[in-house]
Amino acid sequence: MNSKVADRIATTIFYLIAATIVTVLVGLLGYILFHGFSKLNIDFLTSPSSSFRAGGGIGNQLFNSFYILFLTMVFTVPLGLGGGIYMAEYARPGRLTNAIRTCIEVLASLPSIVIGMFGLLMFVNLTGWGYSILGGALALTVFNLPVMVRVCEDALRTVARDQKEASLALGITHWHTIKTVLLPAAFPSILTGAILASGRVFGEAAALLFTAGLTTPTLDFSNWNPFDSTSPLNIFRPAETLAVHIWAVNTQGLIPDVREVADGSSAVLIISVLLFNLLARWIGSVVHKKITASK
């Protein structure tokens, strides 16, 4: 076999592999969207779910998902930023840094169900909160933190070295350089990374099963007092998220329209995650253009 033939065969094989991957992805997305799309309407998206009768919606679950996501990001972003800055700018190469890096990697690869069990011990039992939004958000923070640290560290490291040198050579202190040169330049990648991480958090179920719970109390959407037990904003109430809802109706649902609800919820979940991804790209490029615009 001469090298030209080998080259052609290799090219064909790689095309085939790529085509297989695309087919699987498109097929999966298409299947979920095709089955779920017909279920989507305002009523389904806004009404509360029902326990026994058909025709329940996912209004509360959708709200819970976004609320928990929001709280998770409120916890994760500052911590992740701090960790990323430390790892990129202050950690000296050595045993301690390697140990920290290993910890972050182990944490990043922990199965989310393990994080759920840890959350049950820490944020549900030890704190005595029971299943709560706060507990769920904290468990997801544990789940998401290593990703955020990595995102921030990588973003800071890819800022051109000469920018940093320019600032230091002007007599600007390290912290000021980080604040005024590195962070603004790294901002687009950090934002993109954070939004992509949001997609992952939004779709997470296992870590929430034993922390935020499988139920949602009756919510009164006109009550915005966060300390009231029927308020949607109350962080100490249990909250079933969309991803958990899909799992719950499929395994223990008593409603006759399990299939429809599951299909519709899956479509909403997938569309949301897709939106997160598109949003990440769009905002990333807009901010990048804004910061580096030449005209």
Partner: protein, 262 residues
């Protein structure tokens, strides 16, 4: 001018006095026993083949070299009666006085105005009027003002390479330094931009002392008052530029400046 006042005999004032400087990267001795005096209001050129230590040397003068992990130094680098290696040096103060311009123009991805105002702002100049004045003066000093005065608020990245490098020089002089270190400031520029930077350096030496690392021997010959020749981490010869290029005392200097190696 015009008045017949006898100029006092030129007292050569030095800005940097370096004695027995050794520098190691890990176990590698990169600078060996350097004795070097850099004089006020002169352009001092540092030449030598790649890897001879000239860039390492210039980065010791504002201690930027300390950002590289594993660097050790011994000896003395005296700047304004302070030994930078012994006394606890305030890096902020030092780098305010000893500015630096890099090989590749590295403006911040901010506006032209912000680039120049960045240093003074962080060093405590708050008033808009004062900042405007500094920005204009610095840009005028580098002959960039007329080219950019109408677009001060546009991104510095829209400037040409030569303009960017002049902007970087403006940024460096905005903090009113005494010394400007230039690490191969024209190696990434076209010939016309190079000439402009050289003319600028000649203009700037009236007010600043300039240390310029260069790969380009003609450049050293054209602009500098004194030239130092480095080879394998050693300072081989240091003298008036005219002497280095016409009658060097070391055979290796002669071989290098006549293009026999390097």
């Amino acid at each position: 001018m015009g008045q017949a006042i006898a100029t006092p005999p030129a007292v050569e004032k030095s800005v940097f006095d370096i004695k027995n400087l050794n520098l190691w990267y890990g176990k590698n001795l990169a600078l060996k026993d350097i004795d070097f005096t850099i004089y006020n209001n002169e352009i001092t050129a540092i030449i030598g083949p790649s890897g001879c230590g000239k860039s390492t040397f210039i980065k010791t003068l504002n201690l930027m070299i300390q950002n590289i992990p594993g660097v050790r130094m011994s000896g003395e680098i005296n700047y304004e009666h302070t030994n930078l290696l012994n006394d606890r040096v305030d890096l902020v103060d030092l780098r305010k006085k000893v500015g630096m311009v890099f090989q590749k123009a590295n403006p911040f991805p901010k506006s032209i105005y912000e680039n120049v105002a960045y240093g003074p702002k962080i060093h405590g100049v708050k008033k808009k009027g004062k900042l405007d004045e500094i920005v204009e003066r610095s840009l005028r000093d580098v002959f960039l003002w007329d080219e950019v005065k109408d677009r001060l608020n546009t991104s510095a990245l829209g400037l040409s390479g030569g303009q960017q490098q002049r902007l970087c020089i403006a940024r460096a002089i905005a903090t009113k330094p005494d010394v400007i270190l230039m690490d191969e400031p024209t190696s990434a520029l076209d010939p016309i931009s190079t000439i402009k930077i050289e003319e600028l350096a000649l203009e700037l030496k009236k007010n600043y002392s300039i240390v310029m690392v260069t790969h380009n021997m003609q450049q050293a010959a054209r602009v500098s008052d004194r030239t130092a020749f480095f080879l394998m981490g050693e300072l081989i010869e240091y003298d008036q530029t005219s002497k280095i290029f016409s009658a060097p005392s070391d055979k290796r200097t002669e071989d290098y400046v006549t293009g026999r190696f390097g």
